[in-house]
């Protein structure tokens, strides 16, 4: 269900970018979504397309790049893919590693006609 809130906010942001760049029609929208956000890409796309109807965003293709969770160990600097959501260093066993990627929810590109 949170996909709807995200789609509403996304449509507003794309519209801001469009107006700030001289208007025109939106051809595509690029979004990065981290796996920890538990967003279902198909549902987000569906809401986006629904909300875009009758607007200059109507024909836009939404491309969702899913980002896997990665982290870095604070003790030994090992960088690793986060398995099962746990921030435990696979090399030295330290807890509390820093999440590097996986919590993104970003608009990264808009292509205008």
């Amino acid at each position: 269900m949170h996909e709807l809130s995200i789609a509403v906010a996304l449509v507003e942001q794309v519209e801001e970018v469009r107006l700030a760049n001289g208007g025109g029609k939106v051809v595509s929208v690029d979004v990065k979504v981290g796996q920890w956000q538990l967003v279902v890409p198909e549902i987000l796309s569906g809401y986006f397309e629904h909300l875009a109807q009758g607007t200059p965003l109507e024909a836009a293709e939404i491309r969702i790049d899913s980002i896997e969770a990665t982290a870095r160990c604070r003790d030994c600097s090992e960088e690793f893919r986060v398995e099962d959501g746990f921030l435990v260093c696979p090399r030295c066993g330290a807890l509390g590693c820093t999440l590097l990627t996986g919590d993104e929810l970003n608009l990264v590109g808009v292509e205008l006609d």
Binding site: M1, G85, L87
Partner: protein, 230 residues
């Protein structure tokens, strides 16, 4: 024409949350955002905790629900101000709803506000409400595998309540495995095992709430500086 940008999609919510935070800081009000699944015991927890605070603290509650005012009626029976937020199907609360609801209260006459989020452990974790601290509420009957399934909540929380401990012997919940998994996501947040039926463990949680309100405990906000850890 291709335009590269980098916008947090939820920045409108985050801006509203920052305004809420500023308003609350000016009034000296501490806000706890309780996040847990349906039936985990969030309202029962408030029914236990609020009477333990009332002789020293002025408390109010924002009740988030998809529908019905049943929870607000239960909280109203405690004699504290309560505002019901009905999301009409929405699975989480957002900061603009909190900003609006707080207008119903005289903030200068309050110390602590509890926000009972909509029953859900996925979506509410993403939406900053301007709270002082997120408290995850889980119960032993839900199983010990939840941190692995919903890492964001356990990463973002400042404390964890593990309820229904009176039922522990009837379940396959493994406390050691659970704690190991929680620590794999969040090494520092205190864990409060408790039972709202027996009252066991509730005092410790109430003491932590007060310590945080008085500034004796840090309010851990892992993402405040854009860094995901602390």
């Amino acid at each position: 024409m291709e335009i590269k940008v980098l916008h947090n999609i939820l920045e409108v919510n985050d801006r509203a949350a920052d305004e809420v935070r500023a308003t609350l800081a000016a009034a000296g009000v501490t806000v706890f955002n309780l996040i847990g699944g349906p039936g985990t015991g969030k309202t029962s927890l408030l029914e236990q905790v609020i009477p333990r605070l009332l002789d020293r603290r002025r408390v109010a509650v924002l009740e988030g629900d998809i529908a019905t005012t049943r929870d607000a009626e239960r909280i109203g029976a405690l004699g504290v101000p309560v505002v019901q937020l009905l999301t009409g199907g929405g699975c989480h609360l957002e900061a603009v709803l909190i900003a609006k609801a707080l207008e119903e209260f005289d903030l200068d006459a309050l110390d602590i506000v509890f926000v009972e989020n909509v029953g859900n452990i996925a979506c509410p974790a993403e939406f900053d409400l301007g709270e002082t601290a997120k408290v995850a509420v889980l119960s032993v009957t839900e199983g010990d595998d939840k941190p692995a399934k919903y890492p964001l909540l356990f990463h973002e929380m400042s404390a964890l309540v593990l309820g229904k401990t009176d039922l522990l012997s009837l379940t396959d919940f493994d406390p050691e495995r659970f704690e190991r998994d929680v620590r794999g996501l969040n090494p520092k947040a205190p864990i409060f095992p408790l039972s709202c039926r027996t009252g066991e463990g509730v005092d410790s949680f109430a003491q932590w709430l007060e310590a945080l309100h008085e500034g004796r405990e840090p309010a851990v906000r892992p993402r405040a500086d854009g860094d995901s850890s602390w």
